[in-house]
């Protein structure tokens, strides 16, 4: 008992000393962003006046029904989509377009069909990390391909891969350039449960590797995945003019153990809350009954 108190006391002291160093800095600032698309039937406002701040080192998930504007919102961070009004700040700079400081795993993989698995990653590394030597670039490609267990398939063309394999190539490509902000649009959607679990571990490894300084924003439809990986889960309303419905924090200690956390009451509460937000008909009372 007394040791516990001392521990807490020292922790507090340590915190206060480290305070200025540990003060989280903003990695991504989405300020009042509205995105409208011009369509033949007039303008379609996908997301409206969204503001969200993501701290450096944070893992945030976006969930919401299909078509609500998750990819669009991600696009404004990556710079692929230009906000109609509002602005996005990434790493302290206003976003005007895409850049290699923000690595992207696209929802549809976006591999170049005429390049082998190896070349797909190599060309990205070659462009994004110009300062590296050829040997270093090759080493990086090899390491990341091995991480996603695709080294044996390195000479295949994307057309010869399964959906899950393509997705892993896209993940390896984003990981390889080691960006400070990682934007993942349903990165594990096409994977089987086991491969998905492995990828979760690899993602967290990558995140741990950089002293947890990497910021990750991820779109997912998988509530368990969102809870296991994230610090906060952003639930979006349905579009058009989608807004943020609620931001659900995930106050689970890290490192998290997939098998154990499911029995954690905090996990169960968070899960219920998210389910409740996503499926209006359900209520927590229904589930408990």
């Amino acid at each position: 008992m007394s040791t516990a108190t001392t521990n807490i006391a020292t922790k507090n002291i340590a915190d206060s000393i480290l305070e200025p160093v540990l003060t989280p800095t903003t990695a991504i600032g989405i300020n009042n962003v509205t995105v409208s698309f011009k369509t033949p039937k007039g303008t379609y406002t996908a997301v409206k006046e969204i503001s969200l701040t993501v701290q450096k080192g944070e893992i945030v998930s976006l969930i919401g029904h299909s078509g609500c504007g998750k990819s669009t919102l991600m696009g404004t961070i990556s710079g692929m989509v230009k906000p109609t009004t509002g602005e996005v700040i990434a790493n302290g700079k206003k976003v005007f377009g895409p850049g290699p400081d923000r690595g992207i795993v696209f929802q549809n993989y976006s591999l170049l069909p005429w390049l082998s698995v190896y070349r797909n990653i190599y060309e990205a590394v070659d462009s994004a990390l110009k300062e590296l030597s050829k040997a270093e670039k090759r080493e990086l490609v090899e390491r990341n391909l091995k991480t996603v267990h695709l080294w044996d398939h390195k000479d295949k063309l994307p057309g010869q891969l399964s959906g899950g394999m393509k997705q892993r190539v896209a993940i390896a490509r984003a990981f390889a350039i080691n960006p400070s902000i990682l934007l993942l649009d349903e990165p594990f959607g096409a994977l089987d449960a086991l491969t998905k679990s492995n990828m979760h571990v690899e993602l967290l490894k990558l995140w741990n590797l950089d002293n947890r300084e990497k910021t990750i924003v991820m779109v997912t439809h998988d509530i368990e995945e969102a809870i296991f990986l994230s610090d906060r889960v952003v639930v979006m309303n349905n579009g058009p003019e989608a807004t943020i419905k609620e931001i659900v924090p995930v106050p689970l200690e890290r490192p998290r153990n997939k098998k154990d956390i499911v029995h954690d009451p905090v996990y169960m509460q968070t899960h219920d809350r998210l389910l409740n937000l996503l499926i209006d008909k359900f209520s927590i009372a229904d589930i408990k009954d």
């Binding site: 710079g79 692929m80 069909p113 005429w114 390049l115 990205a124 070659d126 462009s127």
Partner: protein, 260 residues
């Protein structure tokens, strides 16, 4: 595997049937004209005669092989120069709306002009009839390649462009790793159409320009020499070479089309 063999087998059967039909009709017409049009058998004799010593290369007489090569060389140079301009220009038109808007009307006006109309212009510019035929081939090789390349370059999917943007591809890398590979099948379609036109036009060009070549062979030895057999032989050779050129570009086009 077996299904493929059967498919190939059938296409051979169809080909042979088509050839037999052609020979049958040819023979019939020949009989009706009482040999005015040489029969297939007679033409076969002329063919063998023409084919003896095809590489004869005397100053006063060139064999059919030399003539064929000389026509092919002219087509090759004109077509090569045309493609060298049409492909990069197609890239520019395909990637820039403004360039497209400016150049497109010019293309629309010049494209329908008969290749033969360019011949006198070429002659006036170069004062040399073989160069004038090359100029003519050059002009008519431009359009299909230019139009197909620019169409290909303008239809690059957003997904592919996004890859270039997201990973900061340089302009050179974008051209060589995204634009060129994506556009390649379209380029080959254009090249295939271009070489077809070029090959068609060279015969006419050589009739006008004289010199060594298949076109002049048809005119001089066939028509002026009063040998319809030689005209027929030339037609068959021109047709076969044209088919071969077409097949080469078709297979290139297939070779460079990728499944996503």
């Amino acid at each position: 595997m077996k299904a493929k063999a059967i498919k190939i087998g059938w296409s051979v059967v169809y080909f042979v049937a088509g050839m037999l039909l052609l020979l049958g009709m040819w023979d019939m017409v020949s009989r009706m004209t009482k040999g005015e049009l040489p029969s297939p058998v007679a033409t076969w004799g002329t063919f063998k005669e023409v084919m003896t010593n095809p590489w004869q290369n005397d100053p006063d007489y060139k064999g059919i092989g030399i003539k064929l090569l000389s026509s092919l060389a002219r087509v090759g140079i004109g077509f090569g120069l045309g493609s060298l301009i049409a492909i990069p220009l197609g890239f520019v038109l395909g990637s820039s709306r403004i360039a497209m808007n400016i150049i497109n009307p010019i293309v629309q006006i010049l494209r329908p002009v008969s290749p033969l109309a360019w011949f006198p212009l070429g002659l006036a510019i170069f004062q040399d009839s073989p160069k004038a035929s090359i100029f003519m081939i050059f002009i008519c090789s431009l359009w299909p390649t230019l139009i197909n390349t620019s169409f290909g370059a303008s239809s690059i999917p957003q997904d592919h462009k996004n890859v270039g943007k997201a990973f900061g591809f340089s302009v050179w890398k974008y051209i060589t790793k995204i634009m060129l590979p994506y556009t390649l099948p379209h380029i080959f379609t254009g090249l295939r159409l271009s070489i077809g036109v070029a090959w068609m036009v060279i015969v006419a060009g050589e009739m006008l320009s004289g010199g060594i070549g298949l076109g002049y062979f048809v005119w001089e030895e066939g028509f002026n020499g009063g040998s319809i057999g030689k005209i027929l032989v030339a037609i068959l050779i021109i047709g076969a070479v044209g088919l071969l050129l077409d097949r080469i570009f078709t297979s290139l086009q297939k070779r460079f089309t990728y499944a996503v």
